[in-house]
Symmetry: C2
């Protein structure tokens, strides 16, 4: 025994080398086949495919990522996937990115910039193919990390100020404005905005702002706001309506920061005998799964959560494929007003 080996290591059962050997090609060719199948001849492709199958080869993406200095993971950070809006976008993105074998890494900021910053730091450790954030407000450190990180960055669900890199979403002030205009067109004069958790949900605040601004700029129309710091749900909605009627007995229309609130309003009106829409018009935001089935069916504004996801995925894939490009994109997905019975 000549050499006294001191080191030993566990290892992966089947490596690319094994595949190469069986297919009678070099490891480089196997690697090429896996990354760009078109660049490999039909003969080689067949042999490699057979070998992969026979050996049950599973590529090691950590090794690949290390060698390539970038991984096939996309870090997606949302306030919470418990929120149906973001769940829709995350689900759509995962489906689209999964087709190209990109992995979604999920993080929840819980509406905290501090937490978002931690998640971004963690994400960067993975050399992700892209980092996806929600909204346009981030800590200075987050911004710096992302700009220095030399990584495609997407900001979803909000348009307005300058994005770090790319953005897909819509203008929330416009949502509020559209709601106000709609109610006015329906002949309403005493408008009210019902909001929950506005201190944390910047986008809901923008909707409220747009609503109040547009309403107050209209001749002969008044607009007030009633809010609560708790997260939006139907119970809060019911509570808010009760409070609103106490404070402003003559209101004839309410816009809600989302459909959960609106659902609570509908229930509360049933209980206290307020007729919708005769006595009170109601408009929500979200078009959640129950909105069309309410009694009365809820007029609402539908944000395109799925479209945001597909567009985001498309931008990421574009960036990956034509890696040279630096064009920064902003996509306005718009939103849709769905008029139903409640207004």
């Amino acid at each position: 025994m000549e050499a006294t080996k001191r080191h030993r290591r566990k290892m992966q059962s089947v490596t690319m080398m094994d595949v190469a050997e069986r297919a009678q090609v070099s490891p480089s060719t196997v690697s090429l086949y896996l990354r760009k199948p078109d660049a490999v001849s039909a003969t080689a492709s067949r042999a490699i495919a057979e070998a992969i199958d026979a050996l049950r080869y599973v590529p090691n993406l950590m090794a690949g990522g290390l060698a390539a200095a970038s991984s096939r993971a996309v870090s997606v950070i949302v306030p919470s996937v418990r929120n149906a809006f973001f769940a829709e976008t995350v689900a759509t993105m995962q489906a689209e990115l999964g087709k190209e074998r990109l992995q979604v890494m999920l993080g929840h900021s819980e509406y905290s910039e501090r937490e978002e910053e931690n998640l971004v730091k963690m994400a960067l450790s993975w050399k992700p193919a892209a980092v996806v954030l929600t909204g346009l407000s981030h800590s200075a450190t987050t911004r710096r990390l992302l700009k220095d990180g030399n990584v495609p960055v997407l900001e979803l669900w909000e348009l307005g100020r300058e994005p770090i890199d790319m953005a897909v979403g819509f203008y929330h002030e416009q949502v509020g404005s559209t709601a106000a205009t709609h109610l006015v067109q329906r002949g309403r004069k005493r408008l009210l905005f019902l909001g929950a958790r506005l201190q944390e949900d910047r986008r809901a605040t923008l909707r409220a702002d747009g609503f109040l601004k547009t309403a107050r700029e209209t001749e002969g129309v008044s607009a007030e706001i009633v809010q609560h710091p708790a997260p939006a749900n139907a119970a809060i909605g019911a509570m808010l309506l009760a409070e609103a009627i106490r404070k402003y007995p003559d209101i004839d229309a309410v816009a809600c920061s989302n459909d959960h609130i609106a659902l609570g309003v509908i229930f509360e009106c049933q209980r206290i005998g307020v007729q919708i829409p005769e006595r009170l018009s109601v408009i929500g935001f979200g078009d959640l799964s129950f909105s069309a089935a309410c009694n009365p069916a809820l007029t609402t504004i539908r944000p395109p959560g799925d479209l945001i996801g597909t567009e985001a995925a498309r931008l990421i894939l574009d960036r990956i494929h034509e890696s040279g490009r630096a064009a920064s994109s902003v996509i306005d997905t718009r939103f849709t007003l769905l008029q139903r019975q409640s207004s």
Copy 2:
């Protein structure tokens, strides 16, 4: 020039080596500090921490994972995060695992075993610290991959047959049985189960089975089922109730496969003037955000989505820490009946 270097490589700006140099220790010590801070002296720790901070060092987890032959990623595969139940569990798991710097990699099977299999293959390429699946039904290949993969495996949200490795959840037949027993105790005799997408949602089917079995075993009680293949939502719920009343005019209680269906039932009853609970008792499943605020408030069974997430995270962390253990665990989280006005 002696050597003609042919190779060149881009690289990470700051590596562990840079940190080691600045802190006047070896790279090994830095690595140790990062993985087990307690094993490093206070002096060294301070110097390393300072260096990391000053250089803004970001560890490369791909390199770490490759060297360690396992990553700090946990692959979580759920039918869809659009479903509030799974969203709750995913969110909770991410929060718990994130504390220990584990990344959640998300996949959506869309209730397809074929798709789940693909996702598991992709997941395994990352050498995850654990693989988390939903339910106990998987393709044979999925099972084999996971067993050969030498990876901790968790199956959530369902108990019953033998798990691959560990399982956290509850018995869905028990849920159905509990619902039936409750309605009988409230004096109901003509029971009905309203279900959506039962062909795909195995767990909803188990609830239906448990419900029908228990009801039919009870003296003087009858039970029927009405279902629809579309995904559960309030509109389907309303439709199902209308159909149910047409088919079985004398029913006095309905159990719904989830609260979305129950919400539709409530709305439909309001429209057609059926009094809840006087004429008809209603019980749901899920305790969704609106359930307590309905009119009338909905009696429902609450599955502990958050508990499932925390318990799952705990099991994974336990496995990582005491890596020798092979004890396979099954945790029954139970569920809670919430009696409200609708029954």
